[in-house]
């Protein structure tokens, strides 16, 4: 592969929310900016660009990761999912999103997309995850509004629903 010049844009091909995307980005472009400014997916929020707040968390190859600490060029060939992928239909919330709404897991909502992406990955990897796992995943996020208690309750409720679905007759 040739050296990619700093002054020009270069192709980045990857899967985004199940669709193949062929975008273009300068080497220095962050994944968070590619998603928001080039592809128009503004659900991924940007708080600190230091990796500390977690607002920009997306899933890369199924794992929650900071979009602000990932260069767009690093996701070539990867599978990226953003908060826009959680509900298949704009009028319907995913079970995790619905639980957030029921349990008042958000106030201003700035931190919410990132938190949803971390918890969605957790619930997929460990269906019915418990309080400890949920808290561990939340430790990578800063929420300035809710004090976390309702977020934990929402995640536990979603996990509980998931457990019931897995074992319908249990």
């Amino acid at each position: 592969m040739p050296r990619m010049n700093a002054a020009r844009k270069h192709p980045v091909d990857f899967t985004l929310n199940g669709r193949t995307v062929l975008a273009e980005a300068e080497n220095r472009m962050l994944l968070s900016d590619l998603l928001r400014h080039e592809l128009g997916l503004t659900g991924t929020h940007v708080g600190c660009e230091h990796g500390v707040c977690g607002a920009c968390t997306v899933q890369i190859d199924g794992k929650p990761a900071r979009a602000c600490l990932t260069l767009a060029q690093q996701v070539r060939g990867s599978d990226v999912r953003t908060v826009e992928a959680l509900s298949p239909d704009p009028a319907v919330l995913s079970p995790l999103q619905a639980a957030f709404r029921r349990h008042h897991g958000l106030q201003c909502g700035f931190c919410t997309p990132g938190i949803l992406m971390s918890l969605d990955a957790l619930l997929r990897e460990r269906p019915g995850a418990g309080r400890e796992d949920i808290r561990e995943h939340l430790s990578g996020h800063l929420c300035r509004c809710t004090g976390y208690a309702t977020i934990v309750e929402a995640a536990l409720a979603a996990a509980e629903e998931q457990r019931k679905e897995e074992k319908p007759n249990a």
Binding site: D33, G51, P64, L71, Q73, S118, E136
Partner: protein, 275 residues
């Protein structure tokens, strides 16, 4: 904040990577998981002319047992080693340290070797490598060399890595039956860098206490078997021998106090695990 411009290269072979690193002089830099480098680029604390992405080099993607060592290649992400099925048996100290190493979200991308190369004085992996008496394999176009952790970390984010050289793998000594290991840390938020972290090993040759977050690099101290009074004196001497400083996170005095209390707890726990 946004990074300044740089050229980017994603080599297909290790030889190609080493060739560009050699040609680039100090201006070319390896990027692995980016979890420390990208924040530095974002804040423009680093402005390399060229980034060499090593994450697609399959040869660097390996966790292997070789004799009495576990060899972790430069392409291995922290979460992969954390999930390695033999971790608890072969590297119990790392199993205890991982939950403290950043967050699930940063471990998913950050590599084991990247953390060692970054050499933050309060980082968990450099501390663990040093306390276990491990080593680093370095590779440049011209030569391959192996450096003991003790000689590799030379100061605040400073290592023995030369221009044009990269870490190819790190070597962690495998746990031996009858040895005990413990890890403790105090930080401001779970997953943030340590104010003080302690790692301890108890084995046939005695006790070893590793300390991070106090001096400009992790430090390790061997200790003989001691009675309680002697033990208090010894750990107090250690606390004072470190070059503790005040910063926005904690005072030097608080750090010394943490060395005494965490040091005692980790050494006790390692000794207990031995029995």
């Amino acid at each position: 904040m946004k990074p300044a411009s740089f050229d980017f290269l994603c080599p297909e072979t290790l030889e190609e990577a080493l060739a560009v690193l050699a040609e680039g002089g100090g201006e070319a830099r390896v990027i692995a998981g980016g979890q420390s480098l990208v924040p530095m680029l974002n804040m423009r604390l680093a402005r390399p002319a060229l980034l060499v992405d090593i994450m697609r080099l399959e040869v660097l993607h390996r966790i292997e047992t070789s004799g009495d060592e576990i060899v972790v290649g430069a392409g291995v992400r922290q979460a992969e080693l954390e999930a390695w099925p033999s971790l608890l048996r072969d590297l119990p100290l790392l199993a205890a340290a991982f939950p403290w190493l950043g967050h699930v979200q940063t471990r998913a991308r950050g590599t084991v070797c990247g953390s060692i190369a970054h050499a933050d004085p309060s980082a968990e992996l450099p501390l663990s490598l040093l306390t276990l008496g491990g080593a680093v394999s370095l590779r440049s176009r011209k030569q391959k060399r192996r450096v003991k952790a003790n000689d590799f970390f030379i100061g605040m984010m400073a290592t023995d890595l030369a221009e044009g050289e990269m870490i190819e793998a790190v070597h962690f000594p495998k746990a031996r039956p009858g040895s005990g290991y413990a890890f403790r840390e105090v930080g401001r938020r779970h997953g943030d860098f340590a104010i003080v972290a302690c790692a301890a090993v108890a084995d046939d040759s005695g006790l070893r206490l590793g300390i991070a977050g106090v001096d400009d690099r992790p430090r390790v101290f061997p200790l003989p078997a001691l009675n309680d009074d002697q033990f208090d004196d010894a750990i107090n001497d250690i606390a004072w021998s470190l070059n503790a400083r005040d910063d926005i996170h904690a005072s030097a005095r608080y750090r010394r106090e943490l060395v005494r209390s965490l040091g005692r707890e980790t050494l006790k726990e390692a000794s207990r695990c031995r029995a």
